[in-house]
Symmetry: C3
Subunit: 263 residues, 3 copies
């Protein structure tokens, strides 16, 4: 019963957000006739957030050999089969709106943020990967990397409430894990050291902030709420709520007395 | 009267450059029949530099929902409404030709340099932004980031004579300002620290050179003629004609006696 | 006679690899009907590896003004005219399969690895460059940079058995040389210092490993088997089998006693 109530609440939240997105699109279409047709086809003609995203992503990721209609059906079927995907989408939209001062509306994020779109497409490729549909997951992975310059291996596990800000150049390896409410700037690598096979990529805790161009390598643990400075090269564990900066990265305040921030 | 003379001189300069670009394209079409149709449609069939760029950019940035004809009209109307845009384009073409040893002709830059094309499209999105046509400016911003992997917020103010060399991965935030005759290499970030709202991005003076992968964060001032080394992470002001290198960046020669170069 | 035997052996190796790729594609098409049409058009309908790659690359790199049929003919003619290109392709496929733990099949690399595809397209643009077909080589260069975010100047000389892992953001300058069996991660720059003209870019020896985000600038020599750490900024020669890390990069073990690794 609790699960049913929770599911109903999530449905209501998504429906409310979708109503708001449509209102934003209607307002923008009226103010800017040049965009009316675009906004109609991407948002206003659709009956749900999932349909709108499936259409928009299908158009972005299709090619002359991988047709948009095939991708639209695939995306919508996957959203329909697993409501947690839609809930994660809602959390990502809220994350962008709250955490990015340049995000002026939900529809702006939905239509224009390549980081948001890449994450939604990744979640579908991850679902396919867990269903052992690896060739399809990898074809999708490749299209995401071509179109958005965001390269997330389909096996990587990513939470919800994620902000991939700017997003260009983000690389996330096969055995990486990213928690909830994480913000990752552009050019961030969660990679391997090249020395190990198997479980070889970073684990990022809830609420972390990873600055632009940070390179985190190996099966290291970045604790919940930790921060990694821009341009850092991190080869060590970072404790919860600590900050690591530099190349090679060191903890601010040192290993014995790292500066811990509350937030 | 002085303004009219100056405008006439700018028109004459643009016309002369356009004549040269067409001569280059004619020569290349003769030498390489495989490119004849391409060069005809992108350059030789057009009556002005603005029309050629509007056509080329419209084709590059269009999508199945944002049509090339809509973009062509938008770009050409914007160029026509503000001659300073065309003058900036001319200055950018000259900058690439003079400063980049790999730039073998003006038509090469016009057709092939994603940094040049991204800057031209940015100027149009910036113009739309200042006209309060934000949804259209942001849709264009998003297409520029998808197609060229160059992410410049429409509100960012950029001078003329700009060389974005290689350009992939450049990120420029909302309140950043870039002067005239600036050269910026690929993977450069002019970003925020994440701690501030409002005016939170770098100000780059005239004639600066920002090396590949440099990350400049916060509302800091990079003085005219300063240089920032490749891979630097800059969180401080840099005096005019000084050089900053390293992570975190320090002034070469120290804060008290920074090395000042004349050029 | 020895050359004829060697050519026959290379043909046999390519034919064997192509048979394996077709078998992989047939297996995937059966397991995943959604991909059947895609796999038929990209692999199963073709009679050779060169034809398949020419078709796939032509589709990826075409635009509304540079048609896929023109590119297909250009690529296939170039492959046919110089068998060493096909042999390099075979070596690159084997390199990805052996060195990248995430590469699960040859067809996966052929279809999905933007680094692999960018290198194949570069070899064709390099061939055109050496034939003085510079405008066509540069048009291709530009499309590779747009589509894959990989920017390799057509004049750059690159060996075989190359792995460009992830590949986004790689920049290789005009006078750079890369040996055989080199692995280069994403965001790597082989660039100039901006101070020199002429021969101004790095020379990378056989078997080197260049980590993610490394920036190597100037006409420096990275000796055979050397390693460059992620995020390093290298402005100096690195001896064979030595390791350089940091910003600015220093040799591990120092200049007098650099750590030399055998492999």
């Amino acid at each position: 019963a609790a699960a049913a109530i929770s599911a109903a609440a999530a449905d209501a939240e998504a429906a409310g957000l979708w109503t708001q997105i449509k209102a934003e699109a209607r307002r923008d279409a009226e103010a800017e006739p040049a965009l009316a047709s675009y906004l109609y086809s991407t948002i206003l003609s659709h009956s749900s957030l999932e349909r709108s995203i499936s259409f928009h992503l299908g158009n972005k990721l299709c090619s002359s050999t991988l047709l948009s209609t095939l991708l639209y059906d695939l995306f919508l079927n996957t959203f329909t089969s697993d409501p947690s995907l839609r809930n994660a989408t809602v959390a990502d939209l809220r994350a962008a709106r709250v955490r990015d001062p340049a995000c002026i509306s939900f529809s702006h994020c939905l239509l224009n943020y390549k980081g948001f779109l890449a994450i939604q497409a990744h979640r579908i490729s991850h679902k396919l990967w867990t269903q052992s549909r690896k060739p399809l997951a990898l074809a999708l992975h490749s299209r995401i990397s071509d179109v958005f310059a965001v390269d997330i291996h389909p096996a990587a596990k990513i939470g919800k409430g994620i902000l991939l800000d700017h997003a260009t150049g983000v690389v996330v390896g096969e055995t990486a894990v990213i928690g909830n409410n994480v913000s990752i700037l552009h050019h961030v690598t969660l990679g391997g050291t090249g020395k190990a096979c198997g479980d070889r990529h970073p684990k990022i805790g809830d609420g972390c902030l990873i600055g632009a161009g940070a390179t985190i390598l190996g099966n290291v643990k970045i604790g919940a709420g930790a921060k990694v400075g821009a341009g850092s090269v991190v080869l060590i564990d970072v404790p919860p709520r600590a900050t690591a900066v530099g190349n090679p990265a060191r903890l601010v305040g040192g290993k014995e007395k790292p500066t811990i921030h509350d937030e």
